[in-house]
Symmetry: C2
Subunit: 212 residues, 2 copies
């Protein structure tokens, strides 16, 4: 790779990171190329030169986020133990919320505002993923491995409870008086969520509650 290409990629990722921060703080409409450029340490027109338009830069940011979301739950089959799979799924999702809240907040704002830029991803990628995971849960129920619950509502439940700690971080900090959430919070919340949801599904939580 030439020096020029290396520099080009470095500029690309610097802009993307600056854009991620600004879009996360103010949403698509509230963010401006001006502030993104300042944060990236570049003249404003360079942003447009590299990404053609604000909307396109936003799409790139959204794509980057969606790419990083491959969960362990992906590979689970009807053969696996639902208690272990769901416990891990909850704790991994929760850790992602604690450690990379910005991505979750950008995605949340995009969905709240109607999912106009990400609608295709939801219908073409996430929807098949959901259907296949619902199939696994239905098999767990049919084979008596867990209590009969609505699989879609269960998955939405795990998503919402874990993402809450990223999306509503400001509210949680204001309510608890903390300056930031720490590893102890992660373990405590993970234990609570895992125990309630697993017991609610008629499962026994795994003995070793590693926070992962």
């Amino acid at each position: 790779m030439s020096k020029r290409q290396a520099n080009r990629e470095e500029v690309f990722s610097r802009i993307l990171e600056a854009a991620e921060i600004e879009f996360g703080l103010k949403g698509f409409g509230g963010a401006s190329l001006q502030h993104i450029a300042e944060r990236a340490g570049l003249p404003k027109p360079n942003i447009v030169y590299y990404f053609h338009s604000k909307a396109n830069l936003y799409k790139q940011v959204l794509n980057n986020i969606a790419d990083g979301w491959n969960d362990l739950f992906d590979k689970a089959t009807a053969m696996d133990d639902p208690a272990i799979v769901l416990d891990r799924f909850i704790r991994i999702k929760l850790r992602q919320s604690f450690e990379n809240g910005r991505s979750s907040r950008i995605f949340a704002q995009e969905v709240i505002q109607g999912a106009h830029y990400i609608g295709d991803y939801l219908k073409e990628d996430l929807r098949p993923w959901l259907r296949s995971r619902v199939g696994v849960i239905e098999q767990w129920i049919e084979t008596g491995k867990m209590r009969k619950v609505d699989p879609v509502a269960l998955i939405f439940m795990i998503w919402s409870t874990t993402q809450h700690y990223a999306d509503f971080e400001a509210q949680i900090l204001a309510l608890t008086g903390k300056e930031q959430l720490d590893e102890a919070d992660l373990v405590r919340v993970g234990d609570t969520l895992s125990e309630i949801i697993l017991r609610g599904c008629g499962l026994t939580p795994p003995v070793s509650n590693h926070p992962l």
Copy 2:
């Protein structure tokens, strides 16, 4: 009340409703007084005349939303049956999400963007409310009425799972292929959430599962 005052109040509420819609769709930064004025059927300067500034109009909208959030859980005491109280709390919250999602989405965007305009409400109103509800749950646990769980994490769990159906409505519709959520969905999701959370707390869900 004079005719003039009546008209004044009607204009006030018309602007507030238009603002609620625009802020809900695009967030504070993305919404413009121009579009709010057009939606309200008024010239743009009238918005500023009535509400002094965009930020103030936004605060008024936020205040209106917070005022409407007094739950039945407010009046619960350690004497009450946690199964009945929590079941009702979940179903009322869920119905609010189904029927008035716009309010939830405005509030969610405000919190995601840092809760700068609503920070005082969180610290001065919602925080004491949370502390008092945590106290009730702790007494339920101490008197053996329910299993020991982290009370704060439990309340966040109920908030997040119910608000999810308002805030992430676009995602849910895209994933399920529905055009809108209906009464049957409300009952089905309410049953699932109530059963999982109550069983997870060592409680037996109430026999009659009214959606309220």
